[in-house]
């Protein structure tokens, strides 16, 4: 179902041209000119300014009027070229008989190219432009710059001027374009499965509006995706004004409710904690995975990493983590305590009691429930001592999965330790929806069940799929007379609604969003809606009286008041900068209402002992919304290194006790709910808890796609295990073995260093005393070499990289950034299992110590650009050669694919195109390709190039200006994205450059230096800062 046509990107100074609007109302669905609007056939192929159509269906919906719905899994997942079809074989045999000489008679398929007849202002063909916009997650935004080639967005980068993320992005943000160009996005506006126009939808709303106006909208409800958009806020207010009885409810599968409930419990008001991690000397995370490079935590990543090096101003910080699973944050911890989620309240009370001995204001919060283990007591004693010694410069954080009581106690502890105003401040929340969990939607469900609703507008992502099993949302929705769903795919929710509206991607629409700190960004469209999607603003607009207005106009009108001078001038500067000034939220100083808190805490019940189920948001798919994003599906999980699947993570001890191995299919049962999930024996996982990530196992039958040959390869849905009462964890988990096996694909088979000095780690004290140790850290390469020595003195640049392993969390952002920048193909689960994944960056993850309580070190491994490269001399055809500036270049055209270079690469960082991964890409997917980078053919070796295309592009600019390349203007894709600045790139000829400084750092070591490869990429030892009392 390759689309044969799609709208061309809109270019020009009038971005609003992207949205053609109907001008005259029409009462019936006739193919009049008006319904060309969001309905939508755009452009003409066969003539100028005229569109010819074959049927009414096609006219209304274009090629999208196809019977099938979207695919369960992304393109490229399973349709790798496999096998060799009988037809191909016969064709080939036939061809070899029919034979040569006739080749000149071949008729090539017709492919059209279109030239600019008029070049839009500001566009130089071949030079990309960058547009500032924003990406939101859980309603909270970060600023991004999107690289656009002739109107075609191909790369997302963080906006360096945005105060929150300051240039960094996370893996999901990087992969957003793979979602934009997903050819299986919904294209057709449907009423009960039949194609309709946007006009007829508006008409149906208009007809119902009379009834709502009569009763004040008492039977109208909205179920919203969490948002911070001032525009949506104002529109909701306008709808509320028109229909005072209508209600807006929030819905999220990853609700942040407990954060706000916690502040309400502690302070009596709904507040957003804003952490200043950079000011904290000691940090305690209670299951707060703040080092995951999620859109909402990027600033904390940066702040943490800045204090993670021995030379950090203020010294190195110390991180304690208490959690049931082995998370990214846990992997970075100096001390980690495995702990059930259910007992977290007990932990925090015990900590408060211990702190209360030395710190005022923490008495009387109750006694910890349960009998603590000796390990926990020792941990708490040392931790309390450390925290109280750093009053005002320490920080306690609780994760979103934890209860409101835990959050409230954390606020009380922070307040007592004098951290409020220092390491943590409080502001009003930037999001509109502070209740997106049960508190948000339970009233709605009750009303739906009671039949009090006749129209429900759903803009939340796929609630039928993400709903806790016990509310049976699908069945409930079927009974509602009129359900309208705006979604990116015609998914599980789309199957039960009356009206399905294809949603426009945020990169296709105008809008706005706020960051956690309140910073407002304008969301600019980068491209005209590819599949005629509708934005939430347009949808809400149809519930307002009067003429339909363009989102662009609404947005400008809303923000007009913020201009201090000429609005148009300022508007353009906001668009250019990506930030609207003056949005930052002012901090409030709240006071702990200890009596109310104590009353609430007194109601806490002792959790039941036994096995606990922990559901977590997935590191890749989050709640499942990226299930069709092949980049994220194939991305190895930062801890397990699994691709394409979720698993039940089981502790080493429990696995031994149950005699379970990774890949055994288990039946997990909580109460009367159960799910089948493959087991994964995870070092560092608590034995009393099983962790499973949500978002996998989208139902094939719902999506109308059957993967006949590989029916089991879609992950496993664990939403059925969720309860409305506690979406994240539950005690009383029962595990049964099904006796069946399941095939898992993972990218790292061996998990320890086997005593090899590969990824070095040292304690801070040890490093201070013996900065030269470990002995295997050479400063120079004294070994003789048969290869000619080149000094690299005559060249202007000497490119090199340095990786600070102390900063690296293994978050995966660089891996996806590299994939986006370098057109790295997705190969699918089967091929990953065969060991053919193509990621140029391999995040090597090694465990050390006891498997029950391991430490982890993450080592990004990519081409080391060795000065005496073993790959180069073995290539028979000179396909991999050294550049003057020290790059190990790969000449794809010359490569014949002997794979000798890979065999001889000690780092195994080369990747081979075993099959033609790039073939059969649809036209939409082809739009995703970076035109600066070659698409590699079958049979060709590839690897990290230090983003040579970026070097050359920058060189052109610098040469035109007759100067050398500055350090700040040239960043590799991985370096640019890194939320912790673990990667640096630059020229070693510039002694002041970051990379030169790191190359001269005392912690520097060369991986496998004894091979005398003289790598240009060097590593800095990971330093840990343990508490001597817990040693």
């Amino acid at each position: 179902m390759t689309p044969t046509r799609f709208p061309l990107p809109v270019l020009g100074s009038e971005p609003s041209a992207a949205l053609a609007e109907p001008s005259a109302p029409a009462l019936v669905d006739l193919p009049d000119e008006a319904s060309f609007a969001p309905g939508r056939v755009v452009g003409s192929e066969h003539g100028y300014d005229r569109t010819y159509w074959r049927s009414v269906e096609e006219q209304l919906h274009g090629d999208a009027a196809l019977p099938d719905r979207d695919r369960e899994f992304p393109l490229g997942a399973f349709d790798v070229p496999k096998g060799f079809a009988r037809r191909d074989f016969l064709q080939l045999m036939g061809a070899s008989v029919a034979l040569a000489g006739l080749t000149a008679c071949t008729e090539k398929p017709v492919e059209r190219i279109l030239a600019y007849t008029k070049t839009p202002n500001g566009v130089t063909p071949g030079n990309p432009l960058h547009y500032a916009t924003a990406i939101s997650r859980d309603g909270l935004a970060i600023g991004v710059l999107v690289t656009s080639w002739e109107g075609r967005p191909v790369k997302v980068e963080g906006n360096p001027t945005h105060p929150l993320n300051r240039g960094s992005t996370g893996p999901q943000d990087q992969a957003e374009l793979a979602t934009l160009y997903n050819p299986y996005r919904a294209r057709v506006l449907k009423e009960r499965g039949a194609g309709r126009s946007w006009r007829s939808f508006r008409e149906s709303v208009r007809q119902r509006a009379a009834a709502w106006a009569a009763d004040g909208g008492a039977r109208l409800r909205f179920l919203c995706e969490p948002s911070s958009s001032p525009l949506l806020g104002s529109m909701r207010a306008a709808i509320q004004q028109r229909f005072p009885q209508a209600r807006f409810h929030g819905w999220s599968a990853t609700p942040r409710d407990t954060v706000y409930e916690g502040t309400r419990l502690a302070f009596g008001q709904t507040l957003e904690p804003q952490y200043a991690v950079e000011k904290a000397d000691v940090i305690l995370s209670l299951d707060a995975d703040f080092l995951e490079a999620r859109t909402t935590t990027l600033d904390q990543n940066q702040a943490f990493a800045g204090r993670r090096v021995p030379e950090a101003r203020g010294g190195m910080n110390r991180l304690y983590v208490v959690e049931p699973r082995f998370s990214i944050t846990g992997a970075m911890a100096d001390h980690r305590l495995k702990h059930r989620s259910a007992d977290m309240e007990g932990f925090v009370l015990a900590l408060a009691a211990e702190l209360g001995k030395t710190v005022a204001g923490l008495g009387g919060y109750g006694t910890p429930v349960g009998t603590p283990s000796a390990e926990r007591s020792k941990f708490i004693a040392a931790l309390a001592k450390d925290l109280s010694a750093k009053r005002g410069a320490c920080l306690v954080m609780a994760g979103e999965r934890q209860s409101a009581a835990t959050h409230a106690m954390v606020h009380a502890i922070n307040a007592a330790l004098g951290n409020v105003g220092n390491t943590v401040t409080y502001t009003p929340p930037a999001v509109l929806d502070t209740a997106t969990g049960r508190a948000g939607w339970q009233p709605l469900i009750d009303d739906l069940r009671a039949g009090k609703v006749d129209t429900l507008v759903v803009t939340a992502w796929n609630p039928v799929f993400t709903a806790p099993a016990d509310i049976e949302l699908g069945a409930v929705l079927k009974k509602v007379p009129n359900v309208i769903y705006l979604g990116p795919h015609d998914d599980e929710t789309g199957a039960v609604v009356n009206w399905f509206l294809p949603a426009a991607h945020p990169f296709e629409t105008w809008g706005d969003a706020r960051s956690r700190d309140g910073t407002v960004s304008i969301v600019q469209p980068l491209i005209q809606p590819l599949f005629g999607g509708i934005s939430e603003v347009e949808l809400l607009g149809s519930f307002l009286d009067g003429e339909e207005r363009k989102p662009y106009d609404r947005l400008r009108e809303l923000h007009r008041s913020k201009a201090t001078g000429d609005f148009d001038t300022e508007w353009e500067s906001w668009l250019a900068a990506g930030v609207v000034p003056g949005g930052t939220l002012a901090a409030v100083v709240p006071f702990v209402q200890s009596d109310a808190l104590k009353t609430a805490l007194a109601r806490l019940r002792t959790p039941e002992p036994g096995l606990e189920l922990d559901l977590v948001a997935d590191y890749k798919l989050i709640d499942g919304r990226y299930a069709l994003n092949s980049w994220l599906q194939e991305l190895p999980d930062p801890i397990t290194k699994l691709t394409w699947d979720n698993v039940a993570q089981i502790g080493v001890g429990l696995a031994k006790q149950l005699e379970v191995e990774s890949g055994d299919l288990l039946k997990l049962t909580v109460g009367n709910r159960s799910a089948i999930v493959p087991a994964w024996v995870q070092p560092g996982q608590l034995d009393e808890a099983v962790t499973v990530s949500i978002g996998y196992g989208r139902k094939q039958e719902t999506l109308g796609v059957i993967w006949a040959d590989e029916p089991t390869m879609v992950g496993h849905d664990v939403y059925p295990l969720r309860s409305a009462a506690n979406p994240w964890f539950a005690t009383g988990l029962k595990i049964e073995k099904t006796g069946k096996d399941y095939t898992l694909s993972y990218t790292q088979v061996h998990n320890t260093q086997d005593g090899r000095a590969v990824a070095l780690m040292q304690d801070l004290e040890e490093y201070r005393q013996h900065p030269e140790a470990p002995e295997y850290r050479p400063k120079t390469n004294p070994l003789p070499s048969v290869q000619p020595l080149i000094e690299y003195k005559d060249q202007q640049y000497k490119w090199a990289m340095a990786v600070d392993m102390s900063r690296c969390t293994g978050c995966n952002a660089c891996v996806v950034a590299c994939q986006a920048e370098n057109n790295i193909p997705v190969v699918g689960k089967t091929q990953v299992r065969k060991g053919r994944e193509m990621f140029w960056i391999r995040l090597d993850r090694y465990y050390t110590g006891d498997p029950a309580t391991p430490e982890m070190v993450s080592q990004p491994m990519f081409c080391q650009h060795c000065e005496t490269a073993p790959c180069e001399y073995v290539c028979p055809v000179n396909a991999t050669v050294h550049s003057d500036e020290g790059l190990n270049d790969m000449v794809y055209n010359r490569c014949i694919g002997t794979r000798y270079c890979s065999n001889n690469c000690p780092y195994k960082v080369r990747h081979f195109n075993y099959l033609h991964w790039a073939q059969d890409k649809s036209q939409v997917e082809r739009m995703l390709m970076n035109p600066d980078v070659t698409i590699r053919a079958r049979g060709v070796m590839e690897k990290c190039t230090y983003c040579v295309q970026r070097i050359e592009r920058t060189r052109i600019t610098a040469r035109l200006e007759n100067r050398t390349i500055g350090e700040a203007e040239l960043k590799t894709a991985c370096q640019q994205v890194c939320p912790t600045s673990a990667l640096t790139f630059g020229s070693l000829h510039d002694p002041k450059s970051q990379v030169s400084l790191r190359h001269a750092d005392g912690r520097r070591f060369d991986v496998l230096h004894e091979l005398n490869t003289k790598p240009r990429t060097v590593y800095l030892t990971k330093i840990k800062n343990p508490n001597p009392e817990l040693a």
Binding site: V874, N878, R899, P906, Y914
Partner: protein, 469 residues
């Protein structure tokens, strides 16, 4: 017993069994050595064998088509295991080719009479084995249609191959080896082709054999030139016996990979090549001499001598294993030591122990004379040695690659049906060629056997060495 033997006059207790059985003269030899060429092609055994071998060749063609049409991805290779069955098969086949050259060139120069009856046979095997081997370097490239980049042709891009790469050395070594072996074999064939021409039973046969006989009339001048040429080619071939497998071993030894980066590889590979080559000749000779009625020219003496060589080269190979392991331990290099530890204890240990059993233990039976003379036993041993030598190449290539320096990059290799079909297909292709050879060309160098017969019947008196006064 001695009276029956043509060579009884020179028989010596130390000489062992005779080289020719029965009273032979030129007529009988011409008759019985060419007999299998004139036999009707529908000889049931031959036809059955040819059908099976032909099926193997067809499967090879299928596997090649699938590989080229779809990509190397139809194999099990991955990263880190970039080479697996492909190069294993290549090295195995190249090794098998070594017996031919050794027998025809080196044994000729050392005037070993027993080579005479088996040289044609083993030279043919050399050529067919190198043909099978040559498929793999071509097929294993990701883009075989650009494999010509490996030749130093005058390119408008002024690009040359990379002469530092052992793969380029391979290209030259193997192609030279193939050319010289083919010429050597063909030169030796000329008198026999002329004999076939003269004995032809139809015009067509006569014409075809006549063309290939290049107008040989058996004049003294012809014989003189022939002998000189043969000697020269034998001299040329001799260094090739050593050089080809040395260079093949450089494919590994020149790399930095533990388990490959070893100075012992050249001699150890050459010994292994001769070992496997003799085993392969044995595997074919035992049935061939039986079915083609060649027992009187390929006698137990020949077989026993070959078994001795198998034992000797097997011991060399075993020594190679021993030294490899010793040096890995003695060097104190953890990567190097791990490779050998992993071979013995890792996931491919089964192949490793099979290799040790076949290559180290099995040939030891040839210390016993009864074993060297037992035809069923030597056949079994030769098959086992072939298996063992294939395992050796697999162990060297795959176990070294699958777990090298960085543990995070480790992975496993599993062959696919295409890998296995390609391998078995080459055996089928080899057998096809070999059966065709048996059908159209005398399996034994008739002229040389006649010459040997003359020599045995009219022995030159032993040279008396006079020492001192």
């Amino acid at each position: 017993m001695a009276a029956e033997h043509a060579g009884a006059a020179t028989a010596d207790a130390l000489d062992g069994p005779p080289l020719l059985l029965g009273k032979q003269d030129n007529t009988t030899l011409t008759g019985n050595l060419l007999a299998h060429v004139w036999a009707r092609p529908d000889t049931r055994g031959w036809l059955l064998a040819f059908t099976i071998a032909g099926f193997g060749s067809a499967m090879l063609l299928l596997a090649i088509t699938v590989t080229i049409a779809t990509g190397i991805g139809v194999w099990g290779n991955n990263i880190p295991v970039g080479w697996a069955f492909d190069i294993t098969n290549f090295v195995w086949w190249i090794g098998i080719g070594h017996a031919g050259t050794l027998i025809s060139a080196i044994l000729f120069l050392f005037q070993q009479r027993w080579r005479t009856a088996i040289n044609r046979f083993s030279e043919a095997m050399t050529i067919f084995a190198v043909m099978c081997a040559g498929l793999f370097p071509l097929l294993h490239t990701g883009r075989p249609w650009f494999a010509y980049f490996m030749f130093p042709y005058p390119s408008t891009l002024e690009m040359w191959p990379q002469f530092k790469s052992p793969l380029i050395w391979d290209v030259f070594a193997v192609s030279t080896y193939f050319t010289v072996s083919l010429l050597f074999w063909y030169l030796g064939l000329i008198p026999d082709l002329a004999a076939l021409r003269d004995a032809s039973k139809s015009k067509v046969q006569q014409k075809i054999y006549g063309i290939f006989a290049l107008g040989w009339r058996g004049s003294g001048r012809h014989w003189h030139n022939y002998k000189v040429g043969y000697l020269l080619l034998a001299g040329l071939s001799t260094p090739l016996v050593v050089s080809v497998h040395t260079i093949v071993s450089f494919d590994f030894a020149v790399s930095v990979l533990p388990g490959w980066h070893t100075t012992i590889f050249p001699p150890y590979f050459v010994a292994g090549a001769v070992f496997s080559g003799f085993a392969m000749v044995m595997s074919w000779m035992v049935p061939a001499r039986h079915f083609l009625g060649l027992k009187h020219v390929i006698t137990e003496r020949h077989l026993e001598n070959m078994n001795k060589i198998i034992l000797a080269t097997g011991m060399l190979v075993s020594y190679g294993y021993l030294m490899e392991h010793f040096i890995a331990w003695y060097s104190g290099n953890q990567f190097e030591w791990f490779v050998f530890y992993n071979r013995a204890t890792g996931p491919y240990r089964g192949v490793y122990y099979l290799m040790l059993f076949c290559n180290v233990l099995t040939p030891q039976v040839f210390w016993f004379k009864w074993a060297r003379n037992s035809i069923p036993l030597m056949f079994v041993v030769s098959i086992l040695v072939n298996i063992g030598m294939w395992c050796e190449r697999f162990v060297i290539i795959v176990t070294s690659l699958h777990r090298d320096f960085l543990p995070a990059a480790w992975d496993m290799y599993y062959p696919t049906w295409v890998d296995i079909t390609l391998f078995l297909g080459t055996i089928g292709f080899f057998s096809t060629l070999f059966l065709l050879f048996l059908k159209f060309i005398p399996a034994v160098a008739v002229s040389e056997v006649k010459e040997l017969n003359e020599e045995l019947q009219h022995p030159t008196p032993p040279v008396t060495v006079v020492t001192g006064a």
